[in-house]
């Protein structure tokens, strides 16, 4: 008799705990729906504002379903502004930067991970410490340097000074530490020299890390403003970030243009993220590149 009451009591308690758990779950889901809404809203608002005439962006600020949609701003962006040119510059400069940075960081990271040589660790520490330096320390001296080197207004001037990425070489080194030495030695026994070893064994075995780093470098350059802003003054050479800044700072800012330009500049990243979400997230989590 008493045993049955006990167990029914326990069951009652159990259901009570479960209902409470379910209730907290519901509350939490509602909280996160609200939060997600708040975080996505500005981007959504940017997109719908880009389809509104300039005069309606503020007038209909709270209207989340636009009553009137126009492609005017996009037309103006490509016809009255060198937006197409900026987009092309961004693609070429981003591709160039990511390629150069990836190649030099991969070669250097391999050397740091898999060889012994004098001052290796000191060098590694020096590279890591340089990551702490604020870029603003360098803007004046780098600017004077690229003037003397004749690299102002050039892709090279925008790309090369940023290419020796401490985070990039660190990322590759960490990854390559896990490459099996036996495998490398086996290839050496088979007669491969160090360069064949690198090209035929190390690179094929590092593809995921290389892909992740290429994506991170691309995001970094695509979103970067400060250095391209200093290198480029001529509209025809600018990447998107500098071009949009120029649109914002025009005497009478056309906000419909700015919103359209921002939407188009963000679109490629969103597409990249949809297809390569895992690489983007893991890359950021393992390098801390998010804080730039």
């Amino acid at each position: 008799m008493s045993a049955t009451t006990d167990s029914s009591l326990l069951i009652q308690q159990d259901t009570a705990i479960r209902t409470q758990r379910r209730r907290t779950s519901v509350v939490l889901v509602i909280l996160f729906i609200a939060l997600s809404f708040v975080f996505v809203l500005p981007l959504y608002w940017m997109v719908i504002s880009s389809f509104r005439p300039q005069g309606m962006i503020f007038a209909e600020a709270l209207n989340l379903v636009p009553s009137y949609v126009t492609l005017d701003s996009y037309h103006k962006l490509f016809n009255d502004q060198p937006y197409g040119r900026w987009f092309l510059n961004s693609i070429l400069q981003t591709g160039g930067f990511a390629t150069v940075a990836l190649v030099i960081c991969t070669m250097g990271g391999f050397a740091l991970a898999k060889y012994q040589f004098p001052f290796r660790n000191a060098l590694f520490v020096l590279i890591l410490v340089s990551q702490m330096l604020p870029f603003h320390l360098l803007i004046v001296s780098l600017f004077l340097m690229i003037i003397r080197l004749g690299l102002v207004e050039t892709y090279l001037g925008a790309i090369i000074p940023l290419a020796a990425s401490p985070i990039g070489i660190f990322f590759i080194r960490q990854y390559m530490l896990s490459i099996d030495d036996e495998m490398l030695n086996a290839a050496r026994v088979d007669g491969a020299n160090e360069y064949q070893l690198f090209l035929r064994v190390v690179i094929p075995n590092s593809r995921p890390a290389l892909a992740t780093l290429f994506i991170l470098f691309s995001l970094e350059y695509w979103n970067n403003l400060l250095w391209p802003l200093i290198v480029f003054r001529e509209a025809e050479n600018m990447p998107l970030a500098v071009g949009i800044t120029r649109l914002v700072n025009q005497y009478q800012t056309s906000y419909d243009l700015v919103m359209a330009g921002s939407t188009l500049a963000t679109l490629p990243i969103i597409i990249l993220f949809i297809f390569l979400r895992r690489q983007v997230l893991e890359g950021i989590a393992s390098t801390g590149t998010g804080m730039k």
């Binding site: 996160f32 060889y115 360098l138 004077l144 403003l225 914002v248 700015v258 919103m259």
Partner: protein, 298 residues
């Protein structure tokens, strides 16, 4: 020729060959500009050429500059403000999403992360509109709560809060991602054992989660301080390249940029850069000490 190729193929020489491209760019475009910047901070410039050593004059004028101390205060307040939000909030959100109590937690993680994909320029222009006098925020506040419109971007006191709002939007998802990566490394057995001992979720949070997240928290703290002291793009975009109303949003990085490329006082800008680097360096060392990272190594 044969000797040269034999040398190149040598296993002792190969790593140096691999390192050469990186090192050339690193030395020329990172190490040398640092040395140059330090030298320039003791020089006076007339245009791009004609420099003369002036000793500590640049530093003296920087420290007597009212705008510099204001920029320093602004940057410090901004950094502390972002820390107070961008460490606890993402931490708690990450723990909640990791607790298994929230359905569709991956979707929420992604949605809150999305702002991080927009460039700082885009974040700046979007919030310039949202925070504008007739912008989304004021319209929303006046329709729902009947509040009078606040002049977010035109009041000195509201300039930094505006920047902190932008930072919260832009970085919460990324910091959640870092904390999430830290949470994955905490063994589940610890929670199971604690649950058997009758620990409440809150006790588990204080006694297990928080202590074991210390390395992640340290990592996020260092990144946030280094990032906070370098804040540039957001105020530059939102306040059209200026320091905002009453210089309320003037950050150190913005002041350096303006000193260099608006006033063309290269020597002064270089001195400010050195000071900024020293500030960041000192803060980083203090944190490493505080968290005992250095003691372990030495």
């Amino acid at each position: 020729m044969n000797q040269l190729s034999a040398l190149l193929y040598n296993r002792k020489i190969a790593p140096l060959v691999f390192l050469t491209p990186f090192m050339i760019i690193f030395l020329v475009f990172k190490v040398w500009p640092v040395i140059l910047a330090i030298t320039m901070s003791f020089q006076k410039f007339q245009g791009v050429q004609n420099q003369a050593f002036v000793g500590l004059q640049n530093y003296n004028s920087v420290f007597s500059l009212a705008r510099f101390s204001q920029a320093f205060t602004n940057t410090t307040v901004y950094t502390i403000g972002t820390l107070l939000i961008l460490i606890p909030v993402p931490l708690v959100l990450a723990v909640l999403l990791d607790s298994g109590r929230v359905a569709k937690s991956t979707l929420f993680r992604i949605l809150i992360f999305l702002p991080a994909l927009s460039s700082l320029v885009v974040a700046g222009v979007v919030f310039r509109l949202i925070l504008a006098k007739e912008g989304f925020l004021n319209s929303f506040l006046s329709t729902t709560l009947g509040l009078p419109p606040a002049r977010w971007l035109e009041t000195a006191e509201l300039a930094l809060p505006s920047l902190i709002i932008v930072a919260t939007w832009r970085w919460t998802g990324i910091n959640m991602l870092y904390f999430n990566a830290g949470l994955v490394n905490i063994p589940r057995e610890l929670y199971e054992a604690a649950a058997i001992d009758g620990a409440t979720p809150l006790q588990m949070f204080w006694r297990i989660t928080l202590p074991l997240l210390k390395p992640t928290t340290f990592f996020v703290l260092v990144l946030s301080i280094i990032g906070g002291y370098q804040v540039f793009v957001e105020p530059f975009i939102i306040f059209s390249g200026g320091g905002g109303p009453g210089d309320g949003a003037l950050s150190l990085a913005l002041l350096i940029y303006r000193t260099a490329f608006t006033s063309f006082e290269f020597g002064t800008a270089a001195a400010m850069g050195v000071i900024l680097a020293l500030i960041i360096f000192t803060l980083s060392v203090i944190q490493f000490r505080f968290f005992g990272v250095l003691q372990k190594e030495t």
